[in-house]
Symmetry: none
Subunit: 203 residues, 4 copies
DNA sequence: AATGAATGAGAGTTCATTCAT
DNA sequence: GATGAATGAACTCTCATTCAT
């Protein structure tokens, strides 16, 4: 597929249109007709590029997933302090959410449409996150929490916060007090406890 | 509607069948035919009890929402210690999830089907949770976190953990280490910092 | 049917409701449910009085038909001059039309619903009309026109005039100039030609 | 729609089938299934050409309306004498009626289905007719009757006559005595009165 | 590669009618 | 006589997909 430049262009137009349509009306009300109309392409053309509705959906999910992850990792890369890295990562996530509400709308409905895609998406994000926590823990920057469980839990926290204060409010950024409230919580959850008597806590 | 006992019985059968069908195949593939077949009732009968598919969906969501909330509040009521109350509440939540996977499957797809129902559900749960955190905070049992933000965040944490280790694993209960991992995190997030020398900690 | 006073009352309520509903929404959109609701009677009760939808329709048509005819014949009875009788009859017809727009709405849709009823209705009216023309002709009050053909033609004229200026205009009476225009035409059509030296005009 | 010859052909087949089905079983019993079966086209194809049942109905009405009007005006065009023109016009109308009983069956049921279409149809015919009467009157060929009122009245007369002696009798032409009876009436209605002392009526 | 007319299974919904109460 | 829950056939309409061009 898409061996010629023209084909590649058409394909790209279809993907872009599909992301928009899926995000706007949902998977089930997203008809191929709507997608091709939005892409300004004839109906039959769709099938020269994709096998069907689910295939293009999966591609859209994959693409979105890559993009969030990239945005988040770029933001936190190189930040020495773990708590600062958390802040940077979540800021990037909320920023992406505000600019691409499609993310939520598409991911959450993937449950029934394409469970594999959905799992892959969450797994992708958690993998990076858990790795970060793991090394931070090894470095003693955070409490010895379970990195994988924590990654899932914190991702869940971020997800609902984003849904509540960005998606539902149709906001273009997270309210500052919400962000700080969440970071406060996370800091508490991960902060090395004073009771851990390392670092020469003994008098 | 349902002015006779017979009518009430039929209506109940339909609701039960609908919950099952929605949870199994999702909203869009849940046809009225499937629901009435499962309820062993004629197709037309459906429309003597419900206006349409969305109406019965909303009722199913409402019902489920009430039930989780009840289960959770019953579990944590009367537990003096806040951390213990957290444990009890989350245990109840995971238990309910394991027994009613329908909860997730139905709630998560409600995004496009019936946003109002979905919001009502989350709001319901958060309200109770935030109230609990608020009074715990007033009593000095937890750090002075933002109760509402924290409630949403912790609910999100619980949601993804449940999805990952109960739903996806098709488990009938949460693995112990996951539960403890999550509780450890939450305890850390909420635990009163030792530095605050409240409650006459000075001899 | 309707052996008790209660039964007779219920039946009457149903007929009245049916006339209204048929006239308002037409035969096909007139559901039994609507009729019984309007009559404030339970759905099943309908079937203790009528065999079905068509039966009650036929009764409504018959009833309306009788009433127009009665109104018209009462108006023209005893009027000596034929042209005056015409005026009186048409006035009565237009008056009835204005007060019972149901007449048109119901009759015109009867074409497919109940052709027999419709024919009976037209035949009824024409019979009376043609008889009047016939005797007027015998009495030399009008030209020797074909009474039956003329009755149909003039009824048709009145029907469209009523439809155009009462029904479509939602008027509560026929505009005077229209009435006079029509009567002028009819007078011309029926008036004995001056050239016919009938009735021993030559002494 | 119908951007290819094939599409145009299919569309025409559907219209023809629709006219037949509407005329045979009436609007309400004319299902899309019946129409597409008669047109030998798949069900879904219907919806690539028409928005729904009412749309195709309106097109059928419009088409029929155009055709009667054309038939009538062609017949009376160029006929000098007004009374002769009347005869020619009515003959054409009855001829059309006999060949297209669909006209009545479809128009009369339009009352509830599509009042706009029905009015447009009657207005169309009346317009032409009234114009003819108007100029005839100006030319002194007929009495100074109200052209619009008369056009409606005479159209009504023709309509019922056609219904009674063509449609109900399933005749392929109007019985001669009926036609003459009607023309006699109309001639009387329109004929210049003898009292108008033109044409040297004075001895 | 692109086009768009054609397909037909299947959806949600309505409603005249039946029948147990 | 009156009630209203239950029935199921029939309807209109949608849409993913095919295929001739």
């Amino acid at each position: 597929m898409a061996r010629t430049p023209r084909g590649a262009r058409t394909r790209a137009k279809l993907l872009e249109a599909a992301e928009h349509v899926f995000a706007t009306v949902g998977y089930h009300d997203a008809s191929i007709v709507k997608i091709t109309e939005e892409a300004k392409v004839a109906l039959g053309t769709f099938y020269t590029h994709f096998e069907g509705k689910k295939e293009i959906f999966d591609e859209v999910v994959l693409d979105l997933s890559h993009r969030v992850r990239l945005t988040m990792s770029e933001a936190s890369t190189g930040v020495a302090d773990r708590i600062e890295a958390e802040r940077a990562g979540f800021r990037a996530f909320f920023g992406f959410t505000a600019q691409h509400p499609a993310l939520y709308r598409i991911i959450r409905q993937a449950e029934f449409v394409s469970p594999e895609s959905m799992r892959k998406h969450y797994d992708n994000i958690v993998d990076g996150y858990a790795a970060g926590l793991s090394s931070a823990r090894a470095a003693g920057e955070i409490r010895p929490v379970d990195p994988v469980v924590s990654a899932w839990a914190l991702m869940g926290a971020g997800e609902l916060i984003g849904m509540r204060w960005i998606l539902w409010e149709n906001a273009d950024q997270i309210p500052e007090h919400v962000f700080e409230g969440l970071m406060d919580l996370i800091a508490g959850a991960l902060a090395p406890t004073d009771t851990t008597p390392h670092e020469g806590s003994a008098p």
